[in-house]
Symmetry: C2
Subunit: 437 residues, 2 copies
């Protein structure tokens, strides 16, 4: 098969855009030899055309006018790697109106206006492909959208933020505290000077929204996602978890609750959340180290799956974009486009109504009767204790509990009452423990 070239309009040319241009340079002949498909870069919109990107580009290919790229009749597919909601959203919607396929790595946009973009694409009959938006280079979006479309998926859990996984790995393996690990991550370029978006779980929440949308066919936006970060995790939490056979990971969890899961085509009630989790050490997610990402999928038929790889960086992201470009080229050569399916609206179960085991750490006065007082509070709220350990610290002590499965609301009520106890100086970490889906 030989077809007309797929002419690419690239919007944005930072690390990811430049990596894509480089990858195309080497791979275009390979792809043509294997498939007959030809890809070529037609135009690139950048902020500063004079910046040295270390790329050998045809003269006149760069422009500062992104709008002219997405409306250019000589462009077949727009690759958007500028990030952020606007002007990316307007440019992508314009490209779709002009009948162009869109490939994007933009998680903020999709977690905010995904349903609008998908609806516009469906209406116009064009591709919107976004493998690079979640878990970087890992082929995940397409397997979920296509291979597992018929699978009764119960839960998707991902380590989808490399920065926090790097920090937690250092804390766990070197025994350093959060601040030291963050400083090291910043020195190595794994964390930004302002790390808020990563360490508070905002970045993971955007990816969680996208994962839930594609896994369950339900429209989820970033604002729907409950999130906690890792800034409160102490070295003692990590040590206690380790002694008990757990590793602490920041997980994005998208879960589906249906009374009769496998027979109900109705919109599901789901949970979408990002928070630290005590993961059993022999669970596949526990072995995901450093800045790697992984997404663990549980389905009624397929059982357990995990997709592992690099969640960020120029090369991996460019690899995902290239996969989407080939997809777009194949679809174009057949006059078809990818089926996004209509995202239905789903009910989000509030975090207070979820059940989990909990790890809870309290700073208390070290004197007789304290445990009885504390245990009494747990008991009054029906939160039963699975295990307890005390670590003495002079006349202060730490009590570390793992509870049986309890309703979040009851745990919050327990914590509120514990705060009123004179013997409790501080409530430290409260971290959910990974349970069955």
């Amino acid at each position: 098969m030989t077809s007309l070239p797929l002419r690419i309009g690239l919007v944005g040319c930072g690390t990811v855009g430049a990596a894509l241009v480089e990858l195309l340079t080497t791979q275009v002949p390979v792809i043509e030899a294997r498939t007959g498909l030809r890809l070529e870069i037609e135009r690139i919109a950048v902020r500063d055309p004079d910046k040295d990107r270390g790329l050998a580009l045809m003269p006149g290919i760069l422009t500062t006018d992104a709008h002219s790229v997405v409306t250019d009749p000589a462009v077949d597919v727009v690759v958007e790697v500028m990030g952020g909601v606007e002007p990316a959203r307007s440019l992508i919607l314009t490209a779709i109106e002009c009948g162009k396929a869109v490939v994007t790595a933009n998680k903020e946009l999709l977690a905010t206006a995904g349903a609008e973009v998908f609806a516009a694409a469906e209406e116009a009959g064009v591709d919107v492909l976004f493998e690079a938006a979640v878990a970087g280079g890992i082929p995940l979006v397409r397997p979920l959208r296509e291979s597992l479309l018929g699978e009764p998926i119960r839960r998707v859990m991902g380590i989808v933020n490399g920065t926090t996984n790097y920090i937690l790995t250092r804390m766990s393996e070197q025994g350093v505290d959060y601040e030291q690990a963050l400083a090291e991550a910043q020195r190595l370029g794994y964390a930004e000077a302002d790390p808020t978006a990563d360490v508070e779980g905002y970045d993971a929440a955007a990816k969680c929204a996208i994962l839930a949308s594609i896994a369950f066919g339900v429209n989820v936006v970033v604002g729907d996602v409950y999130h906690e970060g890792i800034t409160g995790i102490a070295a003692t939490d990590i040590r206690y978890a380790d002694r008990k056979g757990y590793v602490i990971k920041l997980l994005a969890v998208a879960e589906r609750f249906v009374p009769e899961l496998d027979r109900d085509p109705e919109p599901a009630e789901i949970s979408v959340r990002v928070h630290p989790v005590l993961v059993p050490a022999n669970h596949p997610l526990a072995s995901v180290r450093e800045s790697f990402n992984a997404v663990f999928v549980e389905g009624a038929a397929v059982g357990e799956l995990m997709f592992y790889g690099r969640g960020a960086g120029g090369g991996p992201t460019a690899s995902a974009l290239l996969g989407d470009l080939i997809d777009a080229a194949v679809n174009r050569s057949k006059g078809s486009h990818a089926t996004v399916g209509t995202l239905r609206s789903g009910r989000i179960r509030p975090i207070e109504d979820l059940d989990s085991e909990y790890y809870i750490c309290l700073d208390v006065v070290d004197r007789p009767g304290v445990l009885a007082a504390v245990a009494g509070v747990f008991g009054r709220h029906g939160v039963s204790i699975l295990s307890m350990e005390q670590e003495g610290l002079g006349d202060e002590a730490q009590l570390m509990f793992i509870t049986h499965t309890a309703r979040e609301r009851s745990v919050r009520d327990t914590l509120a009452d514990l705060r009123k106890l004179e013997v409790v100086h501080r409530i430290g970490s409260v971290i959910r423990v990974l349970g069955e889906s």
Copy 2:
């Protein structure tokens, strides 16, 4: 979108076929609600129509005449789950001639006559989909064929046989020897009464051929794949590996050698092999336990990827078949079919010409001068020793070496000369150590 139903002709209805029928029963309405695509089972060819399969089937759907199913004008897609090369090959080729899409889980067939089947499908313009043939339920074939089509893949390494991984996990975690672990695997149904196909690496070799074909676009058959099994692995090997920070796994390895990898669209020289490997304990493949499968992919742009899940069993295999059926239904609704691409012929580099580090275990007489004699043989063949440990056993001793990277031919010559030494009683395990791609 609503379209005509995709009418399925199922050939074979054992564990996998029955699991597919069950999965379809629950998921057909879900798939229709999400995509408008309808799947329905038209006919099922079985050996014994009176056997109780625990399935609620429409009367008259079963037949003993497989040929009538693959030629039935009322069948749009043939799902072949009978296994073996013949009559599966003839039935599939007939189905293709009749213009039907084919979905198969048959690794023996694809590793033997894959190129013939793909060429026939290309000629007829129909789908041949085979997600279930390698690594069971793990979405792997489609990501490799599509998402990673443009990725400069260097190496694919898989734990693709659950039986041997179960045995090695038991040996490693319980310290039992091979016979005990095999007996346990047989008791639990993970290993067959005659375990040869699994433990000697034949099954993994077939999957290796398919992996190499799709990863590199090169025609590889099972006979091209060098293979060793796990029957010779001793408890001492596992213990030594553990002390040195390794886990022993049976890996299927497909590797690509190109002087200038990224710019060469020419057929590559590749290596395809199945053998035990000492895998570093912190490598993601090392944490793949029990009967799970995983495939590790290394690409120049994407970096490291791993796909993990259940490699066998009714549910996971049915899940993969269902993904392919949806693919076939989508393609049919668009009047298109999957692009297999033409498999080129590639040169297979002989095992003797590969380089690796090696673990080598020798039973020797325990007396002064033995190590000097043994080390002299290594030295004469240019095989240099990275580390050595001796374990005394009365007047016998075991010498355990790990070599620096050496050419396989030189190692074989070394072993041949070691056999001639009077002080060497026996050459035990010789196991390759995982190195960089």
